[in-house]
Every structure is written in structure tokens, then in C-alpha cells.
Symmetry: C2
Subunit: 257 residues, 2 copies
């Protein structure tokens, strides 16, 4: 079965978190919006699904995934669905919900990253909300970002199966998403992330390890992989990026790795 | 098995979306933060779980739910877990993911509602970000709120099993959450919601029907039910509430109800 992934063309954005799982597993999929209109694909085909006035399961926004007659929306929901199918999720129900909870925390962080450059409205240009963006980004980098990164570092370090993975002893979609999240943060906020590797050693180790995975390495070197850019979720505006006060070091040494 | 629900005392907030499902099903649960310190409960007991430096499954933020050794965080994830157990979710896997996607869209809307009064930082007082809140709330009421409400109205009207429910032909946790969402919007934005019933007839019918459910009616009349207030997610600041331009009427008549 070929999955159909619907997401905006031209930006990695939220779609990339789904792509990484599909690519890592070598699953067959079509990118609808990035396809050719002659094949019934393209952005218009995606907008048609979004605007349908009769579909039983309309999505609110991209990304969404079609698998046969099923249409599944929201990154975390798609990964919840794909996880067991792609062997990128733990088998036990409680662990699956833990992995999903981590993905939802990543979702929340992504929304906050977006709002650093669009604190008033996604319908306005950045330039028209830059003053507010400077305030919001400063608050984000001072208190929210260290809180999130400190949390994910704890999750890795407190994993009883070892700090190389967020959940259990094998790679899950959460690890892939953490890789993408950190890559985006390093792109958007290089100054604020300057001490990242020293402050969050387990996250840094994960970020270094994931792109070495066989299929993923091939994907990351391919033309399918989109670079971060100034239209996406992660944007580099130097005026929003500040070196933060240092975070205190983790209380516990690395476990199990 | 008695569930343990962890959420801040004193506000309905995000916890209320979980409470409605537990109460509607008559499921036994303990509210940890609202309990007595003499019983090992209270806010301190919740903060202890949040701050643990050794738990294998640390939550990022309330609400979270404990079920035996399982600890599940994020409203939508908790409802995904409880849904089948409380008979408030469809049985078919695709429908379950559709219900979960709707709940995640509600989650996104709640974050946007929160940011109407805290557009810069949750760590600052409202008074210190009131100017930006006025801008953000205006953008929210003008474009985002009608988009969300129009979407949920479509979901009801396009439900092949009838517009009385969001998913399938019986009440799910999504219906209960839509009731709570609309109640909160009517509290926070009475002017902006003035034409709600005329513009979104299926949503208005659902909002009128849900509180008549037997166990839920008893809960809503009880002391356990917390009123909306100015510390919560939904706040009524008259300066943020504006009557919007009228939305065009739905294209399709009500189906199946």
C-alpha cells in the first residue's frame, strides 16, 4: 500500500516529521502537493481535499495522510498510526501512549517556535509583527526553550533502557522527531543553542546518531530532503536569536550509554 | 481500577476535558491536586511527579493521568486512552484516529485561545502584555475562530451518520469536548459569539444536547464542576471581545438530524 502524504510544497515544516519516519522505514509514499498536476497531484489536489464539502473525514490543515480509505491528520496522530506499521513504535500500550505524549510535547514546542516569528497572526507578515516577535522570542529563549530541552534531556537520561533512545531500547519516531526538532532549533537560533551539546549531552548524542541511520542518511543526502528556509516553521531571523543565560548542568550523569 | 487525574486546582482549564469523559462514564477517579495533603494528595503531590528525577515516564505538564503503572499525559492522549475504556470512542481504527485528529484540532484551538490573553509569555501578567493581547485577540476573532468553528460545523454536517455527533452515531469524547469548548468561548467572547447559534446550527444543537446527558447533568450541577474564571484558559476580558463581521451561512442544510 502506497501512503499519500499531503503537505505544503517548498518547506520542511511539520510534514518533515512524517517524512523522516516514512523514509527511515523505506515505506512507499507519494507527496501529493509536490507531485505533478498531470498526474492528478499538486497543491490544487491537496486544497481540494481540504475544501471538500462532503468528505466524511475532512482534515483541518496539512499535514494529513491517506491510507486507502483512511484519512489521518495531525503529525502526532499520523505517527501514532504509522509507528507500529513502520516498526518505529514500542509494542506495549502504555509505552505507545508515552511515546505519543512525547510527540505531543514536541508539537506544542513547534507551535511556540512558530509563534516566535508570528506572535500576533499567521495572516500578517513577519515585518508587521517584528516588535512583538522580539519580545516573544526573548521570553521563549529565556524560559520555554530550556524547559523543553531540559525535559527531553531528562526523558533520555531517565529511560531505564538507556539514554540513547526516548522510549525503550530501539529507535522510535520520537527519536527521529527529536533529531528534526534539534536541527531546526540549531538553524533558527544558533546563538541561543551555542551551548546545546554541553548542556544537553544525551540530546546531542541522539542528534549526532540519528542521521547515520542507513536509509535516513540516503534520504538526507537526496533531493527529496528540503532545507530549512525563511518560509517555514523554523526561520533564522538574527534579531530574534540571543545567547541565553547558561542552564545549570544536569544533576545526574548519563545512564546506560 | 481508580484513575488518578493530575491537574491544577481552582480552574477548569484543560483538565475539564478529561473530567467530562470520566464523569459522563461514571468512572471512578481521584483528583490528586484537589485532594487532601493528609491523604498524600494536594498540589505538592502533583509537583513531586512533575519534578521527579528518576521516573521512567515523566510528564511535561498537567493534565496527566495515572492508571496503575501507566502515566499518560496531554488531554488528547488521555482521551485516546480512556475512550474505548469509557465507551466514548468508536471501535474502528480509522474512526478512532479521526476522533483523535478532531481532539488535536481542539487542542490547537485551546492554545490559540490561551494566547489571546498571553501572546508574549505565560510568565508575564496579562496587564504587561495587554496591548499585544488586543492585537492577537482581534486577529483570532476575525480569522481563526470562524475557521475553527466553520470546520467543526462541517465535520458535524458531513458526518454520514448524522449531524448530532462529530464521529459515528453515538456520543464520543469529542462531542463532550466540543461542548466544553463552546461553553468556554461563550464565557470568554460573548460579543464575538453573539450569532453563534445562527451561524453554526449543528454545533449549537450539540452544545444544547450534551449537558442533558444523565450523569453529566448531575456532574454539572455538583460542586465538583468548576466555573470558568479569570485564572483559567478561557478568560473574559471585555477589551479583547469584539463583535465580528458576520460569517456567510453554511452552504448545506443540516443532514440527518
Amino acid at each position: 500500500m502506497t501512503y499519500q502524504l499531503y503537505y505544503w510544497d517548498g518547506i520542511p515544516g511539520r510534514g518533515e516529521f512524517v517524512r523522516l519516519a516514512l523514509e527511515d522505514a523505506g515505506a512507499p509514499y507519494v507527496e501529493v502537493a509536490r507531485g505533478d498536476e498531470a498526474d492528478g497531484l499538486g497543491t490544487a489536489a491537496m486544497l481540494q481535499v481540504l475544501g471538500s464539502d462532503h468528505d466524511a473525514f475532512p482534515p483541518f490543515a496539512p499535514p494529513f495522510l491517506r491510507d486507502g480509505s483512511r484519512l489521518i491528520s495531525h503529525v502526532a496522530n499520523i505517527l501514532l498510526y504509522l509507528g507500529p506499521r513502520l516498526k518505529l513504535a514500542p509494542a506495549e500500550e502504555g509505552l505507545r501512549h508515552f511515546a505519543h505524549g512525547l510527540q505531543l510535547t514536541i508539537t506544542d514546542l513547534l507551535a511556540e517556535v512558530h509563534d516566535t516569528h508570528h506572535p500576533i497572526s499567521a495572516a500578517l507578515y513577519y515585518a508587521d509583527q517584528q516588535d512583538q516577535a522580539i519580545l516573544r522570542a526573548a521570553a521563549f529563549l529565556k524560559s520555554r526553550l530550556p524547559k523543553y530541552l531540559g525535559y527531553f534531556e531528562r526523558v533520555l537520561q531517565q529511560n531505564p533502557r538507556g539514554s540513547a533512545h526516548a522510549v525503550g531500547r530501539t529507535t522510535s519516531y520520537v527519536d527521529l522527531s527529536l533529531f528534526q526538532l534539534i536541527s531546526g532549533l540549531l538553524y533558527a537560533f544558533p546563538k541561543a543553542m551555542r551551548h546545546f551539546a554541553a548542556d544537553y549531552p544525551a540530546l546531542a548524542a541522539l542528534h549526532a546518531q540519528v542521521p547515520g541511520r542507513r536509509r535516513l542518511a540516503r534520504y538526507l543526502a537526496s533531493e527529496r530532503r528540503l532545507d530549512f528556509n525563511q518560509d517555514g516553521l523554523f526561520r533564522h531571523y538574527p534579531e530574534l536569536d540571543r545567547a541565553p543565560a547558561r542552564r545549570r548542568r544536569p544533576r545526574e550523569p548519563l545512564q546506560g550509554s
